[in-house]
Amino acid sequence: MPTNLAWKHTTDFMTAVPPANGSPERDDEARLIERARSGDVDAFEHVYRREVGRVYALCLRMTADAARARELTQSVFIRAWDRLESFRGDSQLSSWLHRIAVNEVLVEARTDRRRRARVVLADDRGDEEAGAQSDAPAEVGITLPQDTETRIDLERAISALPAGARTVFVLHDIEGYRHEEISRMTGSAEGTLRAQLHRARKLLMEALSR
């Protein structure tokens, strides 16, 4: 497990109040989107800078793989660029992007599982989910805030969870989705999701008590 795991936080996001319709911030967002729709990459960069932290955090936690998280983050914003026409503005841009990100990660995970099932049938690697355990997210050169050790322990333990349990834990306990919403996103039954969540919590408690 890498020891240089560190997370670059922008905590202002956590306390931010969503801008109301008609607020200057929302108007500014609408103008940026309008410019981006017309092909203005500079305007899209502003959108990217505002939202990339949350998208990347989600991708990083769900994949436990920094390289894949970067690729997925790119894909999310490429998708968003392609679909700007379909963004109607009645929901927050951040929520819209977040949905795209969740979908990208889930689709990528399914595709990856299928491909590995086809190509690596004879490869005796054991539990396919075990791969995640050696891929803790790693970023370097970051100053750690107070209480970071505790957070890092938790982040590290999350990254070591089996993929299915990790996905449900991240979506339910970190991102705050309810089981019925996760069920719609993943196509899994709510009972299955609850079992995965219990498993994740149990494994995390065991890992953190060591």
Partner: protein
């Protein structure tokens, strides 16, 4: 659970925390927690874990170079046309009630067959000097395993992103098609499935060949064309499904 001395399972405590227990069951568990230090400690630890998780930063910044790469991709994309979800959704929402014609089903199958014949032929040509000779046996594609792939072989870096893009779009279209299967006749479903199986074999073959010879641009083009063919088949099937 009707007695306080019976320890609740971890799952029950976890459900209690999430509010998934009935009022009556929750009451029983709470009563147990009030007299059982061990279970109360589990509950407290679990509550702490859930609280800590919810307080983790929701934002983590990626390396700055990500935008540079992304910008280049966006500018490169101006000439690339891949089907978007919007087009899939538009197809699903179509109210056009035309029946699926036999000619269109046949077109799907013929297109797939042509693809496999062409791709197998080209792959065989490209790999003619390799250790393995590729050919088409009747209408059956040669499985990907026919092309030897050295351990640890990877696709060209530049193609991996493209392949991810194809796979995501294919996945979306596949989901759209899957939701429409009930609206298609069994004959149509069989034809579509056969066609898709043929195209999948073509993709697997081209992919294996590219893994064996990653610097071969012709194989990159061939694999891209195979993916594109699958997209076309799925898109047309999705459109047809929405019309029936």
């Amino acid at each position: 659970m009707n007695q306080n001395r019976e320890h609740p399972d971890f799952e029950v405590i976890s459900d209690l925390l999430d509010g998934y227990l009935t009022e009556q069951d929750a009451k029983v568990v709470w009563e147990h927690l009030s007299v059982c230090d061990s279970c109360a400690a589990t509950h407290k630890s679990l509550a702490g874990l859930v609280s800590s998780a919810s307080e983790l930063p929701k934002s983590v910044l990626p390396p700055d170079a990500l935008w540079t790469d992304l910008r280049k991709s966006l500018e490169d994309r101006k000439d690339v046309v891949l089907p978007t979800s919007k087009s899939v959704v538009d197809g699903l929402e179509s109210t056009d009630a035309r029946r699926l014609s036999g000619r269109m089903i046949a077109a799907l199958a013929v297109a797939a067959l042509l693809l496999i014949v062409l791709s197998s032929g080209i792959t065989a040509l490209v790999l003619r000097n390799g250790a393995t000779s590729l050919a088409v046996r009747g209408d059956r594609p040669i499985p990907a395993e026919a092309t030897p792939v050295r351990p640890g072989a990877v696709l060209p870096a530049g193609f991996r992103h493209t392949e991810n893009e194809f796979n995501r779009t294919i996945e979306e279209l596949q989901l759209a098609v899957d939701t429409q299967r009930g609206q298609l006749s069994p004959e149509t479903i069989r034809t579509v499935d056969r066609s898709l199986a043929v195209v999948d074999s073509a993709i697997a073959e081209a992919r294996a060949a590219l893994l064996a010879d990653p610097n071969n641009q012709m194989l990159v083009d061939l694999l891209s064309a195979s993916y594109q063919r699958k997209l076309d088949l799925l898109r047309r099937t999705s459109e047809l499904g929405s019309r029936t």
